[in-house]
């Protein structure tokens, strides 16, 4: 199972005068669910691209299972670490939805039969079966997003990095994506979510790495970090709704299920009789 080691990572884009990432060290191991949070331009996506070898460190190192990304091809890393771009259109190039999913499977040596089965399953999980033959570029924003995630998840990478998974998603789809990402974690694989949606992050991730201006300003339990008002403000974040509710009510362990939360609140506050 996968292990990602980041050691004293510095990264600078070729023409830039400043480092986009500075002095970053952490380790992510199998079974972890990690949110990478931070303000616009903090370096979240740059960091993610360093984790999967799309970018190589300027100084320091990133190692996948002990091997430096500089000595691995992007394709070899991709088999282990899938990356879903925040802009699905940067990822698509097939003329049909099903071909988009098939592309990766074929590259990674799935038989046509196995690929067919996987495509059926994954399109159904993401509610895209009816668009099988459609051009990916003609899908709506939310549908494109789902296809982008589906086409990476299809080959079951050991770790999945998803950049802004909830953009353009309605409530039902968010729940759907949440369920999928959680199931990846429960299978012992690893999910890294880059997001501004703190409620979504809190509903999936145990751990958060918070970036600000290219540096890590927090790494630890998501709940602890996002309860810290000063850190939340410094990182231009917002306290997740459930953490706020827990703080205001003194309750804890609330899960994002509004029926249950409402019953608990009505029970706790005696003045509401049902």
């Amino acid at each position: 199972m996968v292990k990602i080691d980041v050691e004293n990572l510095y990264f600078r884009y070729p023409e830039a005068s400043d480092y986009a990432l500075r002095n970053i060290s952490f380790r992510i191991v199998e079974g972890e669910s990690v949110a990478i949070l931070g303000e616009n331009g903090a370096g979240k996506t740059t960091l993610a691209k360093n984790l999967n070898g799309l970018l190589k460190p300027t100084e320091g190192s990133v190692k996948i299972d002990g091997v430096d990304t500089r000595s691995l091809s992007v394709a070899r890393i991709a088999r282990k670490i899938g990356f879903v771009n925040h802009n699905p259109e940067h990822q698509f190039f097939s003329e049909k939805v099903e071909e988009e999913v098939r592309f990766g499977l074929r590259n990674f040596g799935f038989s046509e039969e196995a690929a067919d089965k996987t495509i059926r399953e994954i399109l159904s999980v993401f509610g895209l079966e009816e668009y099988r033959g459609k051009n990916p570029f003609q899908l709506s924003g939310g549908e494109k997003k789902r296809l982008a995630i589906a086409s990476i998840m299809a080959w079951r990478p050991e770790a999945l990095i998803v950049d802004e998974p909830t953009i353009g998603m309605d409530y039902a789809q968010k729940l759907n994506i949440r369920r999928v990402l959680r199931s990846i974690v429960s299978e012992g694989r690893c999910v890294i979510v880059i997001t501004h949606d703190v409620d979504f992050a809190a509903s999936i991730c145990e751990r958060a790495i918070i970036l600000s201006r290219g540096e890590v300003i927090g790494d630890g339990r998501l709940r602890d970090l996002l309860s810290d008002d000063r850190l939340v403000e410094k990182a231009s974040l917002r306290k997740p709704f459930l953490i706020e509710l827990e703080e205001e009510t003194g309750l804890n362990g609330l899960e994002e299920d509004f029926d249950t939360i409402s019953s608990i609140l009505m029970e706790v506050f005696q003045k509401c009789r049902s």
């Binding site: 925040h86 802004e164 998603m169 309605d170 231009s236 974040l237 917002r238 509710l245 029926d259 009505m266």
Partner: protein, 287 residues
Amino acid sequence: MAAVELRKLCFRYAGSEKQALTDIDLTIEEGESVLITGPSGCGKSTLVRVLMGLIPHSYPGELEGEAYVFGMNVKNTPVSRIATRCGMVFQNPDNQLFTFSVEDDVAFGPENLALPPDEIGRRVDEALRLVGIEHLRHFSPNNLSGGEQQKAAIASILSMRPSLLIFDEPTSMLDPSSSASLIQRIFELKRSLDETGRSITVVIVEHRIDLLLKHLSRIIVVSEGRVILDGDPLRVLEESFRKRVPINIPPLLQIYFRVKDKCGLKTTPATVKELVSMLGGGASSNG
């Protein structure tokens, strides 16, 4: 004159069997602040493309019914003319930015209106200031982060000083505090323009409703190409909740709608603190 008037509007994209929009009847008056929301793929983006004249002029397909924007019939008005009154900020800023500096992108629209150079300069300054990216004016859009690109795209529309401002998921790439301040800025901009008599109509397509709610005069819910709910924001959200329309009802309201009757809540809480204190202290009569 209404800002937008749609009568029995239907649209089907070329090559698609499904109608993207069906029998849309809609009037948006000047000065309104309207949210258009609905499940992903419901036709929201298609609807705003009609308001810009991009449908039928840039997207092939079959358009039936009538669509007027400030009295202009979109079917036979060139997009360039509609663009003098309507500005749209797209979902994906990549689709909007194409020059080598933010400043040039923001100046592009006014230059095409053949305005005098000092007026163009004023508008560029104003637009950059409104979205808070004066410091990025000489940057290439390619070197900006996703959120910064989005702000640049918005500035490039504001410099046209449109009467109808359409936003297609404007905060999708922004961090929570930038989202909150962008929404704040949009409506401050609206208020200040309204005060000078240059009334502006705002139409926003968004999934994230929490930040917008207090600014809206109206919410329109589109589902499978039809308008299924339309009216007062809170009432529409409560209806969506009862009918289980899968839109992103803010968590606070998710709870409020569930407990309000049982707990006899009379007013809508604006914060978690308020909700909790209403539940703990205020509610006693009904039960």
